[in-house]
Protein backbone atom coordinates (compact mmCIF):
# COMPACT_ATOMS: atom_id res chain seq x y z
CA UNK A 1 0.00 0.00 0.00
CA UNK A 2 2.84 2.29 0.97
CA UNK A 3 4.37 2.29 -2.48
CA UNK A 4 1.10 3.33 -4.11
CA UNK A 5 0.96 6.36 -1.82
CA UNK A 6 4.61 7.16 -2.49
CA UNK A 7 3.97 6.89 -6.20
CA UNK A 8 0.94 9.18 -6.00
CA UNK A 9 2.85 11.76 -3.97
CA UNK A 10 5.83 11.56 -6.28
CA UNK A 11 3.77 12.10 -9.42
CA UNK A 12 1.08 14.29 -7.91
CA UNK A 13 1.70 17.13 -10.38
CA UNK A 14 1.43 14.87 -13.37
CA UNK A 15 -1.67 13.13 -11.98
CA UNK A 16 -3.31 16.48 -11.28
CA UNK A 17 -2.41 17.60 -14.78
CA UNK A 18 -3.97 14.47 -16.32
CA UNK A 19 -7.08 14.81 -14.19
CA UNK A 20 -7.56 18.46 -15.10
CA UNK A 21 -6.80 17.72 -18.76
CA UNK A 22 -9.58 15.16 -18.71
CA UNK A 23 -11.93 17.77 -17.28
CA UNK A 24 -10.72 20.25 -19.90
CA UNK A 25 -11.44 17.83 -22.75
CA UNK A 26 -14.90 17.01 -21.39
CA UNK A 27 -15.54 20.72 -20.92
CA UNK A 28 -14.37 21.38 -24.47
CA UNK A 29 -16.57 18.71 -26.01
CA UNK A 30 -19.49 19.90 -23.88
CA UNK A 31 -19.00 23.49 -25.06
CA UNK A 32 -18.67 22.88 -28.78
CA UNK A 33 -20.31 20.26 -31.01
CA UNK A 34 -17.44 20.70 -33.46
CA UNK A 35 -14.94 19.55 -30.85
CA UNK A 36 -17.30 16.82 -29.72
CA UNK A 37 -17.55 15.45 -33.25
CA UNK A 38 -13.83 15.70 -33.78
CA UNK A 39 -13.07 13.95 -30.49
CA UNK A 40 -15.55 11.20 -31.28
CA UNK A 41 -13.90 10.79 -34.66
CA UNK A 42 -10.47 10.52 -33.03
CA UNK A 43 -11.91 7.92 -30.65
CA UNK A 44 -13.34 5.99 -33.56
CA UNK A 45 -10.05 6.04 -35.49
CA UNK A 46 -8.14 4.98 -32.38
CA UNK A 47 -10.44 2.16 -31.39
CA UNK A 48 -10.79 1.09 -35.01
CA UNK A 49 -7.08 0.84 -35.64
CA UNK A 50 -6.43 -0.85 -32.31
CA UNK A 51 -9.10 -3.47 -32.81
CA UNK A 52 -7.96 -3.98 -36.38
CA UNK A 53 -4.39 -4.72 -35.33
CA UNK A 54 -5.62 -6.98 -32.55
CA UNK A 55 -7.87 -8.92 -34.89
CA UNK A 56 -5.10 -9.15 -37.50
CA UNK A 57 -2.71 -10.69 -35.01
CA UNK A 58 -5.44 -12.93 -33.67
CA UNK A 59 -6.36 -14.15 -37.13
CA UNK A 60 -2.68 -14.77 -37.84
CA UNK A 61 -2.43 -16.90 -34.72
CA UNK A 62 -5.57 -18.85 -35.60
CA UNK A 63 -4.68 -19.45 -39.25
CA UNK A 64 -4.07 -23.15 -38.72
CA UNK A 65 -7.38 -23.58 -36.96
CA UNK A 66 -9.15 -21.65 -39.67
CA UNK A 67 -7.48 -23.69 -42.40
CA UNK A 68 -8.75 -26.82 -40.73
CA UNK A 69 -12.27 -25.44 -40.64
CA UNK A 70 -12.13 -24.44 -44.29
CA UNK A 71 -10.84 -27.86 -45.22
CA UNK A 72 -13.74 -29.51 -43.41
CA UNK A 73 -16.20 -27.20 -45.09
CA UNK A 74 -14.60 -27.90 -48.47
CA UNK A 75 -14.85 -31.57 -47.70
CA UNK A 76 -18.58 -31.38 -47.13
CA UNK A 77 -19.06 -29.37 -50.32
CA UNK A 78 -16.87 -31.75 -52.28
CA UNK A 79 -18.85 -34.73 -51.04
CA UNK A 80 -22.08 -33.01 -51.99
CA UNK A 81 -20.76 -32.16 -55.42
CA UNK A 82 -19.45 -35.63 -56.20
CA UNK A 83 -22.63 -37.31 -55.03
CA UNK A 84 -24.78 -34.82 -56.89
CA UNK A 85 -23.00 -35.50 -60.18
CA UNK A 86 -23.09 -39.26 -59.68
CA UNK A 87 -26.72 -39.36 -58.59
CA UNK A 88 -27.74 -36.79 -61.14
CA UNK A 89 -31.22 -35.37 -61.01
CA UNK A 90 -32.38 -37.73 -58.30
CA UNK A 91 -31.02 -35.53 -55.57
CA UNK A 92 -31.92 -31.97 -56.27
CA UNK A 93 -33.03 -31.25 -52.73
CA UNK A 94 -30.85 -29.23 -50.42
CA UNK A 95 -30.91 -31.86 -47.74
CA UNK A 96 -29.04 -35.07 -48.27
CA UNK A 97 -30.74 -38.42 -48.32
CA UNK A 98 -28.24 -40.72 -46.67
CA UNK A 99 -29.34 -43.69 -48.76
CA UNK A 100 -28.30 -41.88 -51.88
CA UNK A 101 -24.82 -41.01 -50.63
CA UNK A 102 -22.54 -43.07 -52.80
CA UNK A 103 -19.23 -41.35 -52.12
CA UNK A 104 -17.91 -40.29 -48.72
CA UNK A 105 -15.09 -37.75 -48.73
CA UNK A 106 -12.34 -37.51 -46.11
CA UNK A 107 -9.72 -34.72 -46.08
CA UNK A 108 -6.00 -35.45 -45.58
CA UNK A 109 -2.61 -33.73 -45.68
CA UNK A 110 0.16 -34.92 -47.93
CA UNK A 111 3.11 -35.84 -45.73
CA UNK A 112 5.48 -36.95 -48.47
CA UNK A 113 5.26 -36.49 -52.18
CA UNK A 114 7.38 -37.69 -55.09
CA UNK A 115 7.05 -36.93 -58.81
CA UNK A 116 10.47 -37.45 -60.35
CA UNK A 117 10.70 -41.24 -60.31
CA UNK A 118 9.20 -43.72 -62.77
CA UNK A 119 6.76 -44.94 -60.14
CA UNK A 120 5.74 -42.26 -57.73
CA UNK A 121 4.15 -42.70 -54.32
CA UNK A 122 2.58 -40.19 -51.94
CA UNK A 123 2.09 -40.58 -48.21
CA UNK A 124 -0.89 -38.99 -46.49
CA UNK A 125 -1.65 -38.49 -42.80
CA UNK A 126 -4.84 -40.60 -42.61
CA UNK A 127 -4.85 -44.34 -42.04
CA UNK A 128 -7.00 -47.31 -41.11
CA UNK A 129 -8.15 -45.66 -37.89
CA UNK A 130 -9.65 -42.88 -40.00
CA UNK A 131 -11.49 -45.42 -42.12
CA UNK A 132 -9.08 -45.40 -45.04
CA UNK A 133 -8.93 -48.65 -46.99
CA UNK A 134 -6.91 -49.96 -49.89
CA UNK A 135 -8.05 -48.93 -53.39
CA UNK A 136 -9.85 -45.77 -52.32
CA UNK A 137 -9.31 -42.92 -54.73
CA UNK A 138 -7.52 -39.68 -53.86
CA UNK A 139 -8.26 -36.32 -55.48
CA UNK A 140 -7.24 -32.74 -54.87
CA UNK A 141 -9.17 -29.54 -55.41
CA UNK A 142 -7.99 -29.40 -59.05
CA UNK A 143 -8.12 -33.00 -60.20
CA UNK A 144 -7.25 -36.62 -59.51
CA UNK A 145 -4.16 -37.65 -57.53
CA UNK A 146 -4.07 -41.42 -57.21
CA UNK A 147 -5.24 -44.61 -55.50
CA UNK A 148 -4.59 -45.76 -51.93
CA UNK A 149 -2.12 -48.65 -52.05
CA UNK A 150 -1.33 -49.52 -48.46
CA UNK A 151 -2.60 -48.39 -45.08
CA UNK A 152 -1.18 -48.33 -41.56
CA UNK A 153 -2.99 -47.08 -38.46
CA UNK A 154 -2.29 -43.41 -39.10
CA UNK A 155 -0.83 -43.19 -42.59
CA UNK A 156 -1.54 -44.41 -46.08
CA UNK A 157 0.56 -44.65 -49.20
CA UNK A 158 -1.00 -43.55 -52.45
CA UNK A 159 -0.04 -44.60 -55.97
CA UNK A 160 0.27 -41.35 -57.83
CA UNK A 161 -1.20 -41.06 -61.30
CA UNK A 162 2.43 -40.38 -62.23
CA UNK A 163 3.09 -44.13 -62.07
CA UNK A 164 4.14 -46.09 -65.13
CA UNK A 165 1.92 -49.09 -66.00
CA UNK A 166 -1.00 -47.53 -64.15
CA UNK A 167 -4.02 -46.88 -66.34
CA UNK A 168 -7.02 -44.76 -65.49
CA UNK A 169 -10.37 -44.78 -67.19
CA UNK A 170 -11.17 -41.32 -68.57
CA UNK A 171 -13.34 -39.66 -71.18
CA UNK A 172 -13.61 -36.57 -73.29
CA UNK A 173 -15.97 -34.18 -71.58
CA UNK A 174 -17.58 -32.92 -74.81
CA UNK A 175 -18.01 -36.04 -76.94
CA UNK A 176 -18.07 -38.56 -74.10
CA UNK A 177 -15.57 -40.82 -75.90
CA UNK A 178 -13.77 -43.12 -73.48
CA UNK A 179 -10.09 -43.88 -73.38
CA UNK A 180 -7.37 -44.68 -70.94
CA UNK A 181 -4.88 -42.37 -69.33
CA UNK A 182 -1.29 -43.30 -68.59
CA UNK A 183 2.01 -41.69 -67.77
CA UNK A 184 5.17 -42.30 -69.70
CA UNK A 185 7.53 -40.69 -67.26
CA UNK A 186 9.27 -37.37 -67.68
CA UNK A 187 7.19 -34.26 -67.20
CA UNK A 188 4.96 -34.35 -64.12
CA UNK A 189 2.23 -32.33 -65.83
CA UNK A 190 1.87 -34.37 -69.00
CA UNK A 191 0.04 -37.67 -69.61
CA UNK A 192 -1.00 -39.76 -72.57
CA UNK A 193 -4.66 -40.35 -73.37
CA UNK A 194 -4.94 -43.39 -75.62
CA UNK A 195 -7.50 -45.79 -77.08
CA UNK A 196 -9.76 -43.02 -78.42
CA UNK A 197 -11.10 -44.00 -81.80
CA UNK A 198 -10.54 -41.59 -84.71
CA UNK A 199 -14.26 -41.52 -85.36
CA UNK A 200 -14.52 -39.09 -82.44
CA UNK A 201 -13.74 -35.47 -82.97
CA UNK A 202 -11.05 -33.99 -80.74
CA UNK A 203 -9.75 -30.45 -80.44
CA UNK A 204 -6.78 -28.94 -78.66
CA UNK A 205 -8.00 -27.53 -75.35
CA UNK A 206 -10.80 -30.12 -74.86
CA UNK A 207 -11.25 -31.23 -71.27
CA UNK A 208 -10.66 -34.78 -70.11
CA UNK A 209 -12.63 -36.00 -67.09
CA UNK A 210 -12.65 -39.25 -65.15
CA UNK A 211 -14.79 -41.84 -66.89
CA UNK A 212 -16.48 -43.53 -63.93
CA UNK A 213 -16.25 -46.95 -65.61
CA UNK A 214 -14.24 -48.39 -62.72
CA UNK A 215 -14.75 -48.62 -59.01
CA UNK A 216 -12.03 -46.03 -58.35
CA UNK A 217 -12.83 -42.47 -59.32
CA UNK A 218 -16.31 -41.03 -59.45
CA UNK A 219 -17.13 -39.89 -62.95
CA UNK A 220 -16.74 -36.31 -64.06
CA UNK A 221 -13.73 -35.21 -62.04
CA UNK A 222 -11.62 -32.96 -64.27
CA UNK A 223 -8.17 -34.30 -65.12
CA UNK A 224 -6.62 -32.17 -67.84
CA UNK A 225 -6.88 -30.54 -71.24
CA UNK A 226 -5.68 -31.73 -74.64
CA UNK A 227 -2.26 -30.29 -75.45
CA UNK A 228 -1.72 -31.96 -78.83
CA UNK A 229 -2.98 -34.98 -80.75
CA UNK A 230 -1.96 -37.19 -83.65
CA UNK A 231 -4.02 -39.70 -85.65
CA UNK A 232 -1.31 -40.89 -88.05
CA UNK A 233 0.31 -44.34 -87.73
CA UNK A 234 -1.80 -45.36 -84.81
CA UNK A 235 -4.19 -47.84 -86.34
CA UNK A 236 -7.48 -46.00 -85.99
CA UNK A 237 -6.72 -44.50 -82.61
CA UNK A 238 -5.61 -41.07 -81.59
CA UNK A 239 -2.44 -40.48 -79.67
CA UNK A 240 -3.31 -37.56 -77.41
CA UNK A 241 -1.08 -35.60 -75.04
CA UNK A 242 -2.80 -34.18 -72.01
CA UNK A 243 -1.77 -31.29 -69.82
CA UNK A 244 -2.85 -31.99 -66.24
CA UNK A 245 -4.94 -29.40 -64.42
CA UNK A 246 -3.51 -30.60 -61.18
CA UNK A 247 -0.04 -29.52 -60.08
CA UNK A 248 1.19 -32.78 -58.56
CA UNK A 249 4.49 -31.24 -57.52
CA UNK A 250 2.79 -28.85 -55.14
CA UNK A 251 0.23 -30.92 -53.24
CA UNK A 252 -0.80 -30.14 -49.67
CA UNK A 253 -4.43 -30.98 -49.11
CA UNK A 254 -6.12 -33.95 -50.71
CA UNK A 255 -9.47 -35.68 -50.35
CA UNK A 256 -9.93 -39.42 -50.09
CA UNK A 257 -13.06 -40.76 -51.69
CA UNK A 258 -14.75 -43.85 -50.37
CA UNK A 259 -17.10 -45.46 -52.86
CA UNK A 260 -19.83 -47.02 -50.69
CA UNK A 261 -20.99 -49.26 -53.53
CA UNK A 262 -17.53 -50.43 -54.49
CA UNK A 263 -17.82 -53.97 -53.10
CA UNK A 264 -21.19 -54.40 -54.78
CA UNK A 265 -19.67 -53.20 -58.06
CA UNK A 266 -16.71 -55.56 -57.75
CA UNK A 267 -18.90 -58.57 -56.87
CA UNK A 268 -21.05 -57.93 -59.88
CA UNK A 269 -18.03 -57.52 -62.13
CA UNK A 270 -16.60 -60.79 -60.82
CA UNK A 271 -19.79 -62.80 -61.31
CA UNK A 272 -20.38 -61.48 -64.79
CA UNK A 273 -16.83 -62.25 -65.88
CA UNK A 274 -17.20 -65.79 -64.44
CA UNK A 275 -20.48 -66.27 -66.28
CA UNK A 276 -19.02 -65.18 -69.55
CA UNK A 277 -16.32 -67.84 -69.42
Amino acid sequence: MQWILTLIIQYKNFLLFLFLLGIGIVFSSYRSTYHQNKLQKVGLVLSGSISKSISTSQSYLSLRERNKKLLLENNILKQKLINQSSIGTKNTKDSFDSDLVEYVVEPAYVVKNSFSKARNILIIDKGELDGIKKDMSVISSDGIVGIVKQTSDHFSSVISILYQDFKINAKLKNSGAFGSLSWEGGKPDEMIFSDVSVINEVKVGDTIVSGGMSAYFPKGIPIGTIKSYDNQNSGGYYSIKIKLLNNLTDLENVYIIDNKKRSEFLDLEKTSSNDSR
Binding site: N13, L16, F17, G24, I25, F27, R31, Y34
Partner: protein, 168 residues
Protein backbone atom coordinates in the same frame (compact mmCIF):
# COMPACT_ATOMS: atom_id res chain seq x y z
CA UNK B 1 2.64 33.59 2.40
CA UNK B 2 -0.99 34.60 2.84
CA UNK B 3 -0.14 37.99 1.44
CA UNK B 4 1.34 36.33 -1.61
CA UNK B 5 -1.79 34.24 -2.17
CA UNK B 6 -4.06 37.24 -1.77
CA UNK B 7 -1.91 39.08 -4.27
CA UNK B 8 -2.25 36.19 -6.74
CA UNK B 9 -6.03 36.07 -6.22
CA UNK B 10 -6.35 39.79 -6.89
CA UNK B 11 -4.09 39.53 -9.94
CA UNK B 12 -6.20 36.59 -11.08
CA UNK B 13 -9.39 38.63 -11.10
CA UNK B 14 -7.76 41.72 -12.65
CA UNK B 15 -6.09 39.78 -15.47
CA UNK B 16 -9.20 37.75 -16.26
CA UNK B 17 -11.32 40.89 -16.54
CA UNK B 18 -8.61 42.79 -18.47
CA UNK B 19 -8.25 39.92 -20.92
CA UNK B 20 -11.94 39.47 -21.65
CA UNK B 21 -13.09 43.08 -21.62
CA UNK B 22 -10.04 44.92 -22.97
CA UNK B 23 -7.48 42.79 -24.79
CA UNK B 24 -9.98 40.51 -26.53
CA UNK B 25 -11.15 43.57 -28.42
CA UNK B 26 -7.73 44.45 -29.82
CA UNK B 27 -8.29 42.39 -32.99
CA UNK B 28 -5.15 43.53 -34.71
CA UNK B 29 -5.20 42.53 -38.43
CA UNK B 30 -8.72 41.28 -37.79
CA UNK B 31 -7.73 38.05 -36.07
CA UNK B 32 -5.06 38.67 -33.49
CA UNK B 33 -5.57 39.08 -29.78
CA UNK B 34 -2.81 38.98 -27.12
CA UNK B 35 -3.10 36.56 -24.22
CA UNK B 36 -1.98 38.82 -21.39
CA UNK B 37 -3.41 36.58 -18.66
CA UNK B 38 -0.34 34.45 -19.29
CA UNK B 39 1.49 36.98 -17.10
CA UNK B 40 0.04 35.18 -14.06
CA UNK B 41 1.72 31.92 -15.01
CA UNK B 42 4.94 33.53 -16.21
CA UNK B 43 5.46 35.70 -13.12
CA UNK B 44 4.56 32.94 -10.63
CA UNK B 45 7.59 32.55 -8.36
CA UNK B 46 9.89 29.71 -9.35
CA UNK B 47 10.22 28.18 -5.89
CA UNK B 48 6.49 28.04 -5.16
CA UNK B 49 4.34 24.92 -5.40
CA UNK B 50 3.93 23.51 -8.91
CA UNK B 51 0.79 21.74 -7.75
CA UNK B 52 -0.87 25.08 -7.02
CA UNK B 53 0.38 26.50 -10.31
CA UNK B 54 -1.32 23.72 -12.28
CA UNK B 55 -4.56 24.41 -10.43
CA UNK B 56 -4.13 28.13 -11.00
CA UNK B 57 -3.46 27.63 -14.71
CA UNK B 58 -6.55 25.45 -15.06
CA UNK B 59 -8.72 27.95 -13.18
CA UNK B 60 -7.64 31.03 -15.14
CA UNK B 61 -8.10 29.20 -18.45
CA UNK B 62 -11.52 27.97 -17.41
CA UNK B 63 -12.66 31.44 -16.31
CA UNK B 64 -11.45 32.98 -19.58
CA UNK B 65 -13.23 30.27 -21.59
CA UNK B 66 -16.46 30.76 -19.66
CA UNK B 67 -16.34 34.53 -20.09
CA UNK B 68 -15.35 34.34 -23.76
CA UNK B 69 -17.93 31.58 -24.48
CA UNK B 70 -15.14 29.74 -26.26
CA UNK B 71 -14.64 26.02 -26.71
CA UNK B 72 -12.17 25.21 -23.92
CA UNK B 73 -8.96 25.89 -25.80
CA UNK B 74 -7.74 28.37 -23.16
CA UNK B 75 -8.29 25.83 -20.37
CA UNK B 76 -6.27 23.14 -22.11
CA UNK B 77 -3.50 25.48 -23.32
CA UNK B 78 -3.02 27.18 -19.93
CA UNK B 79 -3.11 23.84 -18.14
CA UNK B 80 -0.42 22.53 -20.46
CA UNK B 81 1.81 25.57 -20.05
CA UNK B 82 1.47 25.43 -16.24
CA UNK B 83 2.51 21.81 -16.28
CA UNK B 84 5.39 22.40 -18.69
CA UNK B 85 6.70 25.54 -16.93
CA UNK B 86 9.32 23.79 -14.74
CA UNK B 87 10.84 22.18 -17.83
CA UNK B 88 10.84 25.48 -19.72
CA UNK B 89 12.51 27.23 -16.74
CA UNK B 90 15.20 24.57 -16.67
CA UNK B 91 15.66 24.92 -20.40
CA UNK B 92 15.87 28.73 -20.27
CA UNK B 93 17.75 29.44 -17.06
CA UNK B 94 19.67 26.22 -16.44
CA UNK B 95 19.02 23.62 -13.73
CA UNK B 96 19.33 26.11 -10.85
CA UNK B 97 17.92 29.51 -11.79
CA UNK B 98 19.80 32.28 -9.98
CA UNK B 99 16.70 34.27 -9.18
CA UNK B 100 13.34 33.20 -7.75
CA UNK B 101 11.30 35.07 -10.38
CA UNK B 102 11.44 36.57 -13.83
CA UNK B 103 10.58 39.86 -12.13
CA UNK B 104 13.89 39.85 -10.30
CA UNK B 105 16.57 42.27 -11.48
CA UNK B 106 19.37 39.72 -11.28
CA UNK B 107 18.21 37.55 -14.18
CA UNK B 108 19.92 38.05 -17.49
CA UNK B 109 17.82 39.75 -20.13
CA UNK B 110 18.42 37.17 -22.87
CA UNK B 111 17.38 34.35 -20.51
CA UNK B 112 14.24 36.28 -19.66
CA UNK B 113 13.44 36.90 -23.31
CA UNK B 114 14.01 33.26 -24.18
CA UNK B 115 11.80 32.10 -21.33
CA UNK B 116 9.09 34.58 -22.24
CA UNK B 117 9.08 33.67 -25.93
CA UNK B 118 9.09 29.94 -25.23
CA UNK B 119 6.19 30.19 -22.78
CA UNK B 120 4.07 32.36 -25.08
CA UNK B 121 4.88 30.37 -28.21
CA UNK B 122 4.00 26.98 -26.70
CA UNK B 123 0.86 28.38 -25.13
CA UNK B 124 -0.29 29.94 -28.40
CA UNK B 125 0.53 26.82 -30.40
CA UNK B 126 -1.60 24.65 -28.13
CA UNK B 127 -4.34 27.28 -27.93
CA UNK B 128 -4.65 27.66 -31.69
CA UNK B 129 -4.34 23.91 -32.34
CA UNK B 130 -7.15 23.09 -29.93
CA UNK B 131 -9.27 25.98 -31.17
CA UNK B 132 -9.04 24.90 -34.82
CA UNK B 133 -8.55 21.16 -34.13
CA UNK B 134 -8.12 20.42 -37.81
CA UNK B 135 -4.89 19.58 -39.64
CA UNK B 136 -6.17 21.15 -42.85
CA UNK B 137 -6.16 24.52 -41.08
CA UNK B 138 -2.44 24.26 -40.37
CA UNK B 139 -1.65 27.52 -42.14
CA UNK B 140 -4.15 29.48 -40.02
CA UNK B 141 -2.87 27.81 -36.84
CA UNK B 142 0.74 28.79 -37.60
CA UNK B 143 -0.15 32.31 -38.73
CA UNK B 144 -2.22 33.03 -35.64
CA UNK B 145 0.41 31.47 -33.38
CA UNK B 146 3.19 33.64 -34.74
CA UNK B 147 1.23 36.92 -34.79
CA UNK B 148 -0.25 36.39 -31.33
CA UNK B 149 3.13 35.36 -29.91
CA UNK B 150 4.76 38.55 -31.18
CA UNK B 151 1.92 40.72 -29.93
CA UNK B 152 1.73 39.09 -26.50
CA UNK B 153 5.50 39.20 -26.16
CA UNK B 154 5.63 42.95 -26.87
CA UNK B 155 2.91 43.72 -24.33
CA UNK B 156 4.23 41.42 -21.59
CA UNK B 157 7.86 42.43 -22.06
CA UNK B 158 6.92 46.10 -21.93
CA UNK B 159 4.83 45.45 -18.81
CA UNK B 160 7.63 43.58 -17.03
CA UNK B 161 10.19 46.23 -18.04
CA UNK B 162 7.99 49.05 -16.73
CA UNK B 163 7.26 47.13 -13.54
CA UNK B 164 10.93 46.52 -12.90
CA UNK B 165 11.85 50.13 -13.57
CA UNK B 166 9.17 51.31 -11.21
CA UNK B 167 10.18 48.91 -8.43
CA UNK B 168 13.85 49.81 -8.80
Amino acid sequence: MIQDNVKIAVQFIIFALLQVYVFDHVNLFGFSCPAIYLFLIISYRFEKSEFLLILLGFMIGLIIDLLQHSSGANTIATLFISFLRPFIIKFSFGINPDSPSIMNMNTKVNNQVFYLILMILIHQLILQSVAYFDMSQLFLIIRNTIVNTVLTFIILFAGIFLFKKKSS
